[in-house]
Symmetry: C2
Amino acid sequence: MGKKISILGSTGSIGINALKVVSHLKDELDIIYLTAFRNADLLIEQAIYFNPEAICIVDELAYNKVLNAMKSTSIKVLKGRQGLLEIASRQDVDIMLNALVGAAGMEPTLRAIESSVDVALSNKESLVMAGDLIQTALKKSGSKLFPVDSEHSAIWQCLVGEDLADVRGLILTGSGGPFREREISTFSDITLDQALKHPNWEMGNKITIDSATMMNKGLEVIEAYWLFGFKPEKIKIVIHPQSIIHSMIELKDGAIKSQMGVPDMKVPIQYAFTYPRHLEAPWERLNFFDCGDLTFEKPDFERFPCIKLAFDALERLGTSGAALNLANDYAVYRFLKNEIKFTDIPKINLSSLDNHNWIKNPKLDDLKKLDIWVKKHVNNFS
Amino acid sequence: MGKKISILGSTGSIGINALKVVSHLKDELDIIYLTAFRNADLLIEQAIYFNPEAICIVDELAYNKVLNAMKSTSIKVLKGRQGLLEIASRQDVDIMLNALVGAAGMEPTLRAIESSVDVALSNKESLVMAGDLIQTALKKSGSKLFPVDSEHSAIWQCLVGEDLADVRGLILTGSGGPFREREISTFSDITLDQALKHPNWEMGNKITIDSATMMNKGLEVIEAYWLFGFKPEKIKIVIHPQSIIHSMIELKDGAIKSQMGVPDMKVPIQYAFTYPRHLEAPWERLNFFDCGDLTFEKPDFERFPCIKLAFDALERLGTSGAALNLANDYAVYRFLKNEIKFTDIPKINLSSLDNHNWIKNPKLDDLKKLDIWVKKHVNNFS
């Protein structure tokens, strides 16, 4: 028997990649729970192939279809947000991969930690919104958090064997997204199609838009703060358009350690499942003779105000990260529906950060109330 | 009291840099022995500043000068090769830095290991010539070998915390030296001055010429084999003209870890003294916004036949590494005296590798006899 793995969000981009990892490491990893939002067909296919103990479809309209498809199996079918939270709370799991998108992933992360399950965290929004609650829960339960973001996985891999006292700071690399060189004056004309074309990474829609606004890099700064405990001034962003160097640490003696590779989320996903081992994998490997030149640039805070908002939120702490993240979730959702302009996203985020009712030590209930306020605030924007 | 450090070759480029490290870490490191070949003035200056227990001047013509200068101190003065070997054998040392140049460094390395002293090894020739003897001695005495070459230090730093079973291979970077782009047909016209101009690193003459022929990279492949135990086919060379990435390891899951920084030997020297810590250092740090693009190329075995010779020597093992290294030592010496052409160096090295009396398991005496044969062989070349 291998490690027991549950995957929240198995039909999304990260979930699909995670199942490729599990397929090739089938002696090491066993899928015992899968959840999906509304892609019933793919969830059914995955369930038949991986034969978990239970699955959950969150969208209740798709429940009967999934239930019927599982009739001839021993696989239990749960439904709705309630079913998702129930699966996130199961204790018979070695590692739960949280590959949910947006603020909806926060509570499942907390549930798993409270159930003493280690969490492989792709849902950075969990930490951005509730970093303090999560750290407290980790200390109480003893479970561990394994980053799945390529940047944070790179930093984690570089930190292996090092004394944190010897680390001067973290260097998060970022491609700069599709609009790194576009005329700023034309940003308000950016279309949804343009924003959905990422130069290096194939990802879900939400994170692709976040890469285009560079809100993603900002959220990653907040995530790095909560994961590794470095102050904002110790976390630098370096634009590296080729996405070959996934991130770095700077040691106090001047040495810099980096983790590199082709842009492929299967690598950080597998590492989270197999840590501290780097087991054999069949994916494409980096070839230095055809990867081209590696280049570096300063991040442009004027062009991408969302980065600055993240540093501001980190200075303020409390509910600031949650307000920023929730606003961004809803703003991106509205942009994806073509209701607002690309340049409205940072405006909405700033307005929510500055105008929400700030609380120093929010509880889960405070965050839920904040969610209601931010949703309304964003939807009122026009 | 800090760690007790002895430095063989303290007046050379590595020795001088090592003393800068000791100066800034004076609470952590104490110099107790220094040796120099013939630079009496600098050795005297160093001795007065660092106040070691004893020093050695190898060139006996300079002995009286050094002895007189130490009269009013409690510092003992030794002389000659015998004095050097005596200091290399002292047991009251925590780390001996072997910064000697060429084959002369081999026996002192063995002496220190046999005295159960850890060795910070800048003298790669020790391992190239006597890798097998050194590994046997290490196992017997329990002392450790800390690489000081920037490439091997980089690999060592990347390996920290990793399971060797998870490492697919090593990637040694090399600048390619000053003649990477020069017309091959003009190689026989290369002058000493041209060969002594390294694009990135300021180093001693011997290693600068070795960088120009790329014999240095070849010797580093052999060094890596003995240090880390990877077979020749697991050790790759990547030409990286900027010398920012100092070397890399490739993990089995496709992750690549690298160590980077400005080209500064103080970083690997300090790490060898403070391992596993990366203590604060005041040196210049890498700035990604002004370091330029990082580029990569295939090594050109036709242009630089010395690389190929190193792989050949590694396939044959036995005395092959010693024959190659000794020939190169003497050939470079003759080139530095303007007695032979740049293109004679690989010819001499090949001839010595192919024509020496090969022995499978050489003892120290066999290597000494080989030294006599190779010296004559190289000096007969015209």
